[in-house]
Each structure stands twice: as structure tokens, then as C-alpha cells.
């Protein structure tokens, strides 16, 4: 046993896979302790807030923390932020279409260009062939350009609590900067928020935990069933074998995913907790394990030590436990790992179809994917809502498969490099 473990941990592939999995498990356990946000809490009013560092604007207005820095191109940057090259080209198009000579327009001379625009832009002017979208674009640009060249600061005012009159509280100059480190309210959202306004990273961590649990439960159930049936079929043989193989064939022949969908639908949303789904998945995916265990047991059945045990008069149960089980243990462990990974994938698949666990109880990886697709995250380029989910699933699967391959190398010396 100890020797086997030593060998196992010397296998490169197994170690890599094991490390990845442990890292994931650690993150899943430790992250909620460091960042205590409840994963299902809506934190943003507005969907799919992009990843980044969020600074509380109200805090940054507080004049005590302002620094005046005299930097180059602050103004140029600000203008470029509001009006990029494509916008300038659009504006030039409008000016040309409204009758101005193209040669007289120079988009790089901002001041002159903006002067031309302000003097000529007329939202009511009907330019033939202009789409509504373009019309709206120009209206937006025109509004954006208001005061863009001014060098004046802004005044902060607030309602006096007693009189209700607007009173000046302070002002902000264009050269005022704040130090993020000194602001009380800065929040990093490494993966932004999803369509519900929830913190994607916190949700992802919790979802990984739930999905792993589901995979584990499903995998254990499937492996137990497969092991038992395989042992019985392989060892006892005869009619028991035929019967169990018949039963297995029946399960093969009825498509698993249809069965899964049917059962999931029948249970109804009300009962569909994470645990229930795991049980359902486990109950429908034992077929492959049974077959594999059975073929192993069949080949073991005629080995010498088994015959010896039979001759010695040991009971069937004793033989199965002592003489067969240890030899297929390695195989069973590998099967378990595969079942866990396929359990996670099945749950994700079910959730994408809308038949997974309830949305409001716990997040799962499949559910996050489902909602991201519902809200067109992939159409609108909001990659943070679904790409990390795919990567996490792939990573977990990958690490398990690596571990499996590593174990394979240990238990089947012939396949070793």
C-alpha cells in the first residue's frame, strides 16, 4: 500500500493533476474565508459590470484627499477618451454630407474641428440616406462634446438639510488627483458581475465547490452501483450475470441524456436541489463502470489465488472482499475519478438546458453558463461571465484526467514510458 502510494506520487502526470485539483480545492475553501461576500448577493445595479478596480466616486470628491499634479497631456487624454478617431471620422462624414468642403476639415486640429462642428451641426437637418442609428450617434456625440475644451473645474453642491437650497460645498479642478490607497471604498472585481449583478468571482468559487460536491456524490453513487453490479455479474456469473448484463443493456439502449432530462423534468423545479440532481446523475451513469468492473472480474475469476481460496472453502463474500476487490481497487479508483469528472460535466449540461438545480439556492458552473447565454453575454462581448466558467470546468476535468492517466501508468506498467 505504502509502496503503491510512493509510486503514484512519483508519476509526473498524477502529481501535476493532483496539484491542480488541490489548488482548486484550496481556493474553494480559503477564498470564502478571506472575502466574505455572500456569493448570491446582488451587488451591482446593472448587469455585467466589467472586471476592474472600482473606486467610490463620492469618496474621491472629499477634498481632504486631493493632490494637484501637473502632468502632460491630461487634457489631450480626456478629449481622446470622449472622442476617439472613429468618432472624428464619423463627424467628418456628417460635415462633408452637409456640404462642407472635405479639404477644409482637419480632424487632427481639435479646436478648429470642434469649432466647425459646433457651427454647422444641426440635428434637424435631413441628410438623405442617413440611418436612424447614425442620427442618434451624432446627437450623442454632440452632447458629449459640450464643454470638452474647457479648462475650468466643476463645482460640487449639495442640498442644505434645513432649507433645501443648493449650496456650494467645494470644487474640483481638472488637475486634481486622488491616491487610491487612501480611499476608504475601493473594490476590486476581478471578474466583474453577472446578469444578476452578483460578483462573478465569488459566485464562481462557490459554484465550483457545489459542482465538485455534485460530481463527488454522483461519482460515488455511480461507482458503488457499478462496482456492486460488476462484482456480482463477474464473479457469480450464470443467470445473475445474464440478468445484470440484460439490465445494463437496457440502460445503454435508453439514451442516458433523455433519461436524465425526463427525470429532471419530472422531479420538478421545487425538489431539484443540488443533492437531488447529483443522485439522479449517479443513478443514470453507472453503466460503463459496471461493464468495466465485470470484464476485470471475469479475467480475475480464473486466477490461481482465487481458485485456491475457493478450494479452501472460503465463502463467496470473503473471496470477493479479500481476493478480488484489492486487485481491482486501482481500477475502481480510476473509474471513480472518471465518474466524478463526468458527473460535473453532466450537471453542467443539464443546467445549460435549464433543468439543473434551483437558481436561487446555490450557483453551479452550469447555471452560471446558462444565465450568461440567456443574457447574451457571448453576443455582447461580456467574456467574464462565461469564459472563466468554461476554463474552470476544463481545468477540473483536465486535472482529473491527468490524475487518471498517471494512475494508469502506475497500475499498468506496460504503458509506462
Amino acid at each position: 500500500m505504502k509502496h503503491t502510494l510512493q509510486q503514484v506520487f512519483r508519476s509526473g502526470k498524477f502529481v501535476v493533476g493532483f496539484c491542480i485539483l488541490t489548488a482548486v480545492l484550496l481556493i474553494v475553501i480559503v477564498y470564502p474565508l478571506i472575502v466574505p461576500t455572500p456569493p448570491l448577493r446582488t451587488i451591482s445595479q446593472g448587469t455585467f459590470v466589467p472586471p476592474g478596480i472600482y473606486v467610490n466616486v463620492f469618496d474621491s470628491i472629499d477634498s481632504a484627499t486631493h493632490y494637484t499634479l501637473d502632468l502632460d497631456d491630461v487634457a489631450a487624454r480626456r478629449i481622446a477618451g470622449r472622442l476617439d478617431e472613429e468618432d472624428r471620422v464619423s463627424m467628418k462624414e456628417w460635415l462633408v454630407a452637409s456640404g462642407i468642403e472635405e479639404s477644409a476639415i482637419d480632424t487632427s486640429d481639435t479646436r478648429k474641428f470642434l469649432d466647425q462642428w459646433v457651427n454647422n451641426y444641426d440635428p434637424g437637418k435631413n441628410i438623405p440616406g442617413m440611418t436612424n442609428a447614425k442620427r442618434n450617434l451624432y446627437a450623442r456625440l454632440d452632447a458629449l462634446l459640450d464643454g470638452i475644451l474647457s479648462t475650468e473645474g466643476v463645482i460640487i453642491a449639495a442640498h442644505d438639510p434645513d432649507t433645501g437650497v443648493l449650496e456650494k460645498k467645494g470644487n474640483i479642478e481638472q488637475s486634481d488627483f486622488v491616491n487610491i490607497g487612501q480611499l476608504p471604498n475601493v473594490r476590486i472585481l476581478p471578474l466583474g458581475t453577472d446578469n444578476f449583478g452578483r460578483d462573478v468571482l465569488a459566485e464562481l468559487v462557490k459554484a465550483t465547490a457545489v459542482s465538485l460536491e455534485i460530481g463527488l456524490v454522483a461519482g460515488i453513487i455511480a461507482t458503488l452501483i457499478g462496482l456492486t453490479l460488476g462484482l456480482l455479474a463477474g464473479y457469480v456469473g450464470g443467470f445473475m450475470d445474464d440478468g445484470i448484463m440484460f439490465f445494463t443493456n437496457l440502460f445503454t439502449v435508453i439514451p442516458t441524456f433523455v433519461l436524465l432530462i425526463l427525470i429532471s423534468f419530472s422531479i420538478g423545479q421545487e425538489q431539484r436541489g443540488a443533492f437531488t440532481i447529483a443522485v439522479v446523475i449517479g443513478l443514470t451513469s453507472w453503466v460503463w463502470t459496471t461493464r468495466a468492473v465485470r470484464s476485470q472480474v471475469l479475467s480475475l475469476r480464473n486466477r490461481d489465488h482465487v481458485n485456491l481460496a475457493k478450494l479452501s472453502g472460503h465463502s463467496t463474500g470473503h473471496i470477493v472482499l479479500r481476493d478480488i476487490l484489492p486487485y481491482i481497487a486501482s481500477y475502481v479508483v480510476m473509474a471513480l475519478i472518471l465518474q466524478i469528472s463526468s458527473g460535473i460535466l453532466s450537471e453542467a449540461g443539464l443546467s445549460i438546458l435549464g433543468l439543473g438545480p434551483k437558481t436561487s439556492e446555490v450557483p453551479t458552473l452550469g447555471l452560471m453558463m446558462n444565465w450568461a447565454l440567456y443574457y447574451n453575454a457571448h453576443v455582447n462581448g461580456q467574456w467574464w461571465a462565461y469564459v472563466p466558467v468554461i476554463l474552470v470546468i476544463a481545468l477540473i476535468s483536465f486535472s482529473m484526467n491527468l490524475m487518471n492517466t498517471g494512475l494508469d501508468h502506475v497500475f499498468n506498467p506496460t504503458v509506462r514510458d
Binding site: I254, L259, L262, L353, A394, M400
Partner: protein, 335 residues
């Protein structure tokens, strides 16, 4: 041959028993779902009816038409009688379309997406796996982890990534549909080319994952075979590798063929994810809608087709095994 005949008859007997049980299960399982589909249809039709008797009358009419108000064993016999006449009845969710009509219009797309995808994936995957097993060293060290990773990507993940990268961002492939959005099916080169182009992304999303899985499987089998005694012995004897390999791969392929048979058998249900992400026509999403709409006849018919296909292919493989693998024959004749 006598032993072989016994093997054949044994397999045939189990085939029929499984078929009958599967048939019964196919009928019962959808009907075990809670809820009353006729009530759903009727409530749609009876909109605005204020009197209970009017609604009841319509309910009776449809219950009679669909036969849902009869005891289940009676429904079963009617079902068997109709199936034998290839009348699968009306679809509940798409009434008054018949089940045969619904399935016929979508099954070809599924078959023509899945079959080549499975075959190509299987061929390429096994080829690469065998190559890796034979060559070892550099090629193998790269292939194995890449294959493992490819097969770890969930099917929908691969589909979404392909969609976003190749169709949305790069624009090299169309984003949806079985054929051009502005085309009408007809036997013209334009249409055929459009079908081929729309075929690519769903096809590759299935193939890439299949390759991964097959390569790993074939690789282990091939390595196992390559280390067998007869190979070492033949090499010592000086027989050329090329001759040996033929036997090696033939032996290694056997379990893979079983896998292929199973994949082909279940392919009708398989492309659900690709169908949804790429909006590809096919049977997978029809089945899903049928389940969500509690459409018993459609579910039963679709699962029946899948059942038949799996049984036939498994049975065919087992018979084929009997011919290919002499060990089976030997076991039977001594048994």
C-alpha cells in the same frame, strides 16, 4: 460452426428480449412524467371560455383523440398496433403535425451531422493515438496532454468558444443555421455549398472532442499490444515492422470498434449542445422541446428510434466480433 451457431442464437435471443423490454419502457417512461399535457393544450385552446362545461367538452374531445383517458395498458396496445402500421400518432406540442412528420424533418440533419463527425473523429483520433503509441518520444509527449485537455473541455464550452472566436470575432464562418439564412432548400450548388459552410463549426466542435477521447483510448490499447509477447518475438525473428503493425492495430482496434458502435447507436440523441449553440436543425433539440412540452408520442418515437439504432449496432458488433475475434469463437465451442 455448431458452437458458433449457439453464440449467434444466444445473442439473438437477448436482442429480442431487450428490444421488447426497451419498447415497453419507451412507452411507459414519458407517461410517468407528472402533469397532464392534454390540459396544457386545452387551456391554450379554451382561452376566454367562461363556462366550465365548454372547457370540459374540449378536454374530453382531445383526451379521446389522444387516447389519454384510457387505462394505460389499453393505450399500450393501441400504441403497438399503430407502430406496426408506422403510425406514430399526433405530436401534442405541435398538434396537428404528426410525429412522423416532425421527426422526418429533423432526423436527417442529425444523422448527417453526427455520423461523419463521429467517423472522422474516430478515424483521426485512433490514427493519432496509434501513431503516438508507435512513435513514443516527442510526438507522444505532446499528443497525450493535448488530447487529455481537448477531451476535458465540455462540449458546450468548445461550441461556445468556436462560435465566439471563429464566427463572431473573426467572421470566418456563419453563426447559425443549417444553411444560409436567405436560402431555400433546393438541389443547387449554391445551396450545397451553403450547407457545407454552415456545417463546419458544429462538425468540428464534435470532432475535436472526439479526437481527444479516441486518441487516448487507442494509445493505451496500442501500447498494450505493442508490448505483447508476440510482437517482441516477431521482432526478434526479423519480421518487418510493417507486417507486425497490421496485426497489432487489428487487435488494438477491437475495443475501439465497440466504442464506435455505441457512439453511432446513440448519435441520434447526441448533438443537442451543438444544435442549441449553433442553432443547427436536428433531433436533439426536438426531443428537448418534446420533454418540456410533455409530448409523449414524440418522446416515445424518438427514444424508440435511438433504442433500435443502439440495439442494431450493438448486435451487429457482437456478431462481427464473433467473426473477427477467434477467441470468442473458441470460447463458445469449448463452452
Amino acid at each position: 460452426m455448431k458452437g458458433y451457431r449457439k453464440y449467434f442464437l444466444n445473442k439473438l435471443a437477448w436482442f429480442f428480449v431487450t428490444l421488447v423490454c426497451a419498447f415497453i419502457l419507451n412507452f411507459i417512461l414519458p407517461r410517468l412524467m407528472p402533469g397532464d399535457p392534454v390540459a396544457a393544450i386545452v387551456s391554450r385552446l379554451a382561452q376566454g371560455m367562461s363556462d366550465a362545461t365548454g372547457v370540459q367538452a374540449i378536454y374530453q374531445q382531445y383526451a379521446d383523440l389522444f387516447g389519454t383517458n384510457r387505462p394505460i395498458y389499453e393505450q399500450f396496445f393501441i400504441y403497438v398496433k399503430n407502430v406496426v402500421r408506422s403510425d406514430f400518432g399526433f405530436s401534442f406540442s405541435q398538434y396537428p403535425r404528426t410525429v412522423a412528420d416532425v421527426i422526418a424533418s429533423s432526423i436527417w440533419w442529425t444523422v448527417f451531422l453526427q455520423l461523419p463527425a463521429i467517423l472522422v473523429g474516430w478515424l483521426i483520433g485512433n490514427f493519432l493515438g496509434a501513431l503516438a503509441a508507435y512513435r513514443r518520444k516527442g510526438f507522444d509527449k505532446v499528443l497525450l496532454p493535448v488530447s487529455i485537455f481537448a477531451s476535458s473541455l465540455p462540449a458546450f464550452g468548445m461550441a461556445v468558444l468556436l462560435l465566439v472566436v471563429f464566427a463572431l470575432t473573426l467572421g470566418w464562418f456563419p453563426t447559425s443555421g443549417g444553411y444560409g439564412f436567405d436560402m431555400i432548400p433546393a438541389l443547387s450548388w449554391g445551396f450545397i455549398w451553403s450547407v457545407i459552410v454552415h456545417y463546419q463549426l458544429p462538425f468540428w466542435s464534435i470532432v475535436l472532442i472526439t479526437i481527444g477521447g479516441q486518441a487516448i483510448g487507442m494509445r493505451s490499447m496500442a501500447i498494450y499490444e505493442l508490448n505483447a509477447d508476440y510482437v517482441k518475438y516477431s521482432r526478434f525473428m526479423g519480421i518487418k515492422d510493417r507486417k507486425i503493425l497490421r496485426y497489432v492495430f487489428r487487435n488494438a482496434m477491437l475495443p475501439q470498434v465497440t466504442g464506435l458502435a455505441l457512439a453511432i447507436g446513440t448519435m441520434v440523441s447526441g448533438a443537442l449542445v451543438a444544435e442549441i449553440i449553433f442553432n443547427y436543425p436536428g433531433l436533439g433539440s426536438t426531443i428537448l422541446k418534446a420533454v418540456l412540452g410533455q409530448d409523449y408520442p414524440l418522446i416515445s418515437a424518438a427514444t424508440l428510434i435511438i433504442t433500435l439504432m443502439v440495439l442494431v449496432t450493438t448486435f451487429a458488433i457482437e456478431i462481427l466480433y464473433g467473426f473477427i475475434d477467434p477467441r470468442v469463437k473458441a470460447a463458445q465451442s469449448e463452452g
